[in-house]
C-alpha cells in the first residue's frame, strides 16, 4: 500500500507495532500531562438489541441507550461509575439478555439489558479490540490487541469457587485481532487479524478449557482483515464474509477454508484512479439474511451486496451515498431488516499499568465520561422501501424513535447545523485514519530498520534516567 513510510508518525506509534510493554508506559505518561499530543480518536460504535428493543451508541468511554419500546433514553447504572477510556467493542447476546462493553481501559463490563445495570466488571490484561457472545449466551468472548481471545462465563456459577479469572480460548501469535464472531450453528468461533489471516476454530462445549482444534484457515486477503460477518441463518447455508485493507470483500466456506468469491471494491466504486490513488479499505460490515452492508474508507455512504447461495457468489446490490460529508464509523442491521449507521469519534487515552489511587481513578473516570457525553455523533437509518423494493436512507423525521432518539443518541437535535456535521465528519475521519495506522504494516527501508534497532533502547534509557 502506498504512503506507508510516514516516518514522523512511525517514530511516535512505532512501538505499537513492536508490541512491547513500553506502549502502555508511553500512553500513561501522556494522560498525566494534559495538553500533550492526544492519542488516537476512537470511533463511535453501534449495537442493536436482537429484539429491536433498544439501540446503543458507544462513543469514547460512555454509551447512550435509547429504548425503542418506551421511546425513552435510558441512563445505564454502574457502581464503579463506568469506563475510564474509550469503548472499542460492544454487543448483545443472541437472546438479548446481556450487553457487553470493553475497550482501552482494560475492563470488560457486562450489563443486564432490562435494568441497564452493570452486573460484572472483569479486568483483563490488554486493551480489548472485539467481543462476541457464544450463541447459547453462556460465554462472553473477548479479543485483545495481542492476539489472545479470552472466555468469561456470563452467569455466576455457584458451584465454582467464584474464580472469575478469564481463561484463554485461543491465540493468534501476537497479532491484533480485529474481529470476532461465532457461527450461526454455534460450532465455530472465527477470528480475523492484522496479519491477513482468518481462523475458524471449533468452539468446545466447555470453552474454559480452550479451543484446541482449528477447523480451517481462510487465507486470501493481501492486507489486514478488518471485519467479519455471517450470511445465511442457522441452517447449513451459512457462509462467512470478510472485508480487508486490500479493498476486497470475500465470501468463504468457513468449514473448509475455501475462498468462494472476491469482490474488488475499488473497481466497484469506479473512482478515478489518479497517481496518488490508494485503494480504499473496507472498514466495517453487517449482515442480515443474505444481504451484507459494508462501510468503505472515504465513502460517504454504504455498499450493499447480496449473497447468492446457489452459485455461491456475492452480487452487487446497491450503493447508497448522501450529501453530508460523513463516513459512517459503524453499522448494524436489526432483525427487522433496518440498517443503522453511526458516525462520530472521541479522544481516547489509555490507562496504562501504573497502580492508581482511588481518587485518581475517580478523576480519570469522570473526565473520560464527560468527554464521552460531549461527543457528537450522526445517526442514519436505511430501510428497504416496500414500494420500490430498494434500500433508502430515511429522513430524520422518519427514523424509529424520531427526534427523541436522535437527540439521545446523537447528542444534539436533529436539525442539521453545518458545524455539527463538520465536527462529526472531522472526528470520524480521524478515527478512520487511526484504525488504518494501527492495522497497516510499516514497510521500513533496510537502513531505517537498522537505525531503529540501534536507537530503540535509547527511549527506555532516557525514560529511566528522567523518571
Amino acid at each position: 500500500m502506498a504512503g506507508e513510510e510516514d516516518l514522523a508518525t512511525a517514530e511516535a506509534e512505532g512501538d505499537e507495532n513492536e508490541l512491547e510493554d513500553e506502549e502502555e508506559k508511553e500512553v500513561c505518561e501522556d494522560q498525566f500531562h494534559p495538553g500533550s499530543q492526544s492519542q488516537a480518536m476512537a470511533p463511535a460504535i453501534i449495537s442493536i438489541h436482537p429484539n429491536s428493543r433498544a439501540v446503543v451508541v458507544s462513543v469514547g468511554a460512555g454509551f447512550r441507550v435509547f429504548d425503542l419500546e418506551s421511546n425513552e433514553a435510558v441512563t445505564p447504572v454502574d457502581d464503579s461509575s463506568g469506563h475510564r477510556a474509550a469503548i472499542r467493542a460492544s454487543g448483545f447476546s443472541h437472546d438479548g439478555a446481556f450487553f457487553a462493553s470493553a475497550g482501552d481501559d482494560k475492563l470488560v463490563k457486562l450489563w443486564d439489558t432490562f435494568s441497564w445495570k452493570c452486573s460484572k466488571t472483569i479486568p483483563v490484561n490488554k486493551k480489548t479490540s472485539a467481543v462476541a457472545f457464544s450463541r447459547d449466551g453462556q460465554w462472553l468472548l473477548v479479543a485483545d490487541k495481542f492476539g489472545v481471545v479470552y472466555v468469561i462465563p456470563t452467569l455466576a456459577d455457584d458451584k465454582s469457587d467464584t474464580n472469575e479469572e478469564p481463561a484463554q480460548l485461543l491465540a493468534h501469535c501476537c497479532s491484533i485481532i480485529t474481529s470476532l464472531e461465532t457461527s450461526p450453528c454455534g460450532k465455530f468461533v472465527v477470528t480475523a487479524d492484522r496479519d491477513y489471516k482468518i481462523r475458524v476454530s471449533v468452539l468446545p462445549k466447555n470453552p474454559m478449557l480452550g479451543a484446541y482444534e482449528i477447523q480451517s484457515f481462510c487465507l486470501g486477503h493481501t492486507s489486514f482483515v478488518s471485519c467479519l460477518a455471517f450470511v445465511g441463518d442457522g441452517s447449513s447455508e451459512a457462509l462467512l464474509v470478510s472485508g480487508g485493507g486490500d479493498s476486497t470483500i470475500r465470501l468463504w466456506d468457513h468449514v473448509s477454508g475455501y475462498l468462494l468469491d472476491t469482490v474488488d471494491i475499488s473497481n466497484l466504486l469506479q473512482t478515478d484512479k489518479t497517481d496518488t490513488f490508494v485503494a480504499p479499505a473496507v472498514v466495517n460490515m453487517s449482515a442480515s439474511g443474505s444481504v451484507v452492508a459494508s462501510t468503505i474508507e472515504r465513502l460517504t455512504g454504504v455498499i450493499l451486496l447480496r449473497c447468492d447461495f446457489g452459485i455461491k457468489k456475492l452480487l452487487f446490490l446497491q450503493k447508497i451515498s448522501w450529501q453530508e460529508p460523513i463516513c459512517p464509523t459503524d453499522l448494524q442491521f436489526d432483525r427487522k431488516g433496518r440498517l443503522w449507521l453511526v458516525a462520530g469519534a472521541a479522544e481516547t487515552r489509555g490507562v496504562g499499568d501504573r497502580a492508581l489511587k482511588p481518587e485518581q481513578v475517580t478523576e480519570l473516570t469522570s473526565l473520560a465520561q464527560a468527554s464521552a457525553a460531549a461527543a457528537l455523533t450522526r445517526l442514519r437509518v436505511i430501510q428497504k422501501s416496500p414500494a420500490t423494493s430498494s434500500y433508502e436512507a430515511l429522513d430524520d423525521t422518519e427514523v424509529p424513535g424520531g427526534d427523541r432518539m436522535l437527540k439521545a443518541l446523537q447528542g444534539s437535535p436533529s436539525d442539521s447545523s453545518v458545524s455539527v456535521a463538520a465536527a462529526v465528519a472531522e472526528a470520524a475521519q480521524a478515527a478512520e485514519l487511526a484504525m488504518k495506522n494501527l492495522l497497516s504494516k510499516r514497510q521500513y527501508t533496510e537502513t531505517h530498520r537498522e537505525k531503529r534497532k540501534r536507537t530503540r533502547n535509547d527511549k527506555k534509557a532516557r525514560a529511566a534516567t528522567s523518571s
Partner: protein, 253 residues
C-alpha cells in the same frame, strides 16, 4: 561441519555467518510470506518438483506431486535436516529459521552438498520465516508427518514465556498442520523448559506422549541430540538433554 579437502564446491564457513542467538519473533516481518499454501512455490526449493509439476500435469498427476512432510522449526545451521535427508530420501523436508544470516548459511550448505553429492540432498531446503506466525501460510491442514523443535529458545524470564515456541495457543496450530498419527519431537538441555513443554503437550487434547518402546525404536530419536549443532555442543559439555516425543491424535469425541 563439512571440511572435505579438495571438494568441487567449498562448504560455507560458519564464521562468516555469525548471528546473535536471538531474533525477535514478535516484530513485523520484512520477508515475503505466501498468502496461502496454494500460493507457496515449492519448486524453487526442490529440484524434483521443478521437473515434475510445470503446470501441464493432469489433475491426477498433480495429486501425486510430493508435498513437504517434515518441518524443522528453528532449524539453525541445518544439522538435523542434513542427517534426515539420507534416512528418508523420498520425503521432502523443510527447515524454518528466523535469522537471516543463518538461513543464508543453510542455503549455501545445501547447494554445496547437492553439488558434491549428485543425486542426494535434493529433498531438503530452508525458508527464512516466522514459524510462530505463518505456519498455516505454508502448510495445508494435516500436511506434516513430523515436526521438530530442537533446543528452542528457553526465554527464561517469566514475562517472556509467552514467546516460547511450545504453548497451548501454538499447539492448536501445530495440530492443524499435522496429520493424525504425525509425530512431534522436542528436545532441550534446559530442565525447566523441558518440563514446560512436556506439561503443555500433556495438557493439549490433540497430543499424546508416545510410549518408551516406540520412542526407542524410532530411528529419528537418536539423531535429535547428535545431529544438531546445539546438541553437539551440549554433548561436548556433558549436559543433560530432555527428550519428549508426542503423537498427534484425532480429536476426542
Amino acid at each position: 561441519m563439512g571440511k572435505k579437502k579438495g571438494a568441487a564446491c567449498a562448504h560455507p564457513r560458519k564464521r562468516f555467518y555469525r548471528a546473535r542467538a536471538h531474533s525477535n519473533p514478535l516484530s513485523d516481518s520484512h520477508f515475503p510470506v505466501p498468502v496461502s499454501p496454494a500460493h507457496c512455490d515449492w519448486t524453487e526449493h526442490f529440484p524434483v518438483l521443478a521437473a515434475a509439476g510445470d503446470g501441464s500435469a493432469s489433475g491426477q498427476q498433480q495429486q501425486q506431486v510430493p508435498k513437504v512432510r517434515f518441518a524443522d522449526v528453528g532449524c539453525g545451521f541445518g544439522g538435523l535436516l542434513v542427517r534426515l535427508s539420507d534416512l528418508y530420501p523420498e520425503t521432502l523436508m523443510i527447515g524454518m529459521e528466523l535469522r537471516d544470516k543463518v538461513t543464508e548459511y543453510v542455503k549455501e550448505r545445501i547447494v554445496a552438498l547437492r553439488k558434491n553429492n549428485p543425486g542426494r540432498y535434493g529433498n531438503i531446503s530452508v525458508i527464512r520465516t516466522n514459524a510462530m506466525k505463518f505456519l498455516p501460510n505454508y502448510f495445508d491442514k494435516g500436511q506434516l508427518e513430523k515436526m521438530f523443535f530442537l533446543f528452542p529458545d528457553p526465554h527464561f524470564k517469566e514475562k517472556n514465556h509467552r514467546r516460547r515456541i511450545i504453548s497451548q495457543g501454538l499447539l492448536a496450530e501445530y495440530a492443524y498442520v499435522m496429520a493424525e498419527g504425525g509425530i512431534l519431537y522436542t528436545v532441550t538441555d534446559v530442565q525447566e523448559l523441558g518440563e514446560w513443554m512436556k506439561s503443555n503437550l500433556d495438557a493439549h487434547p490433540l497430543f499424546e506422549r508416545i510410549n518408551l518402546e516406540e520412542q526407542s525404536s524410532d530411528p529419528v530419536v537418536e539423531f535429535l541430540v547428535a545431529t544438531s549443532e546445539e546438541g553437539q555442543k551440549v554433548a561436548r559439555n556433558r549436559g543433560d538433554t530432555f527428550v519428549a516425543v508426542y503423537r498427534r491424535v484425532p480429536s476426542p469425541p
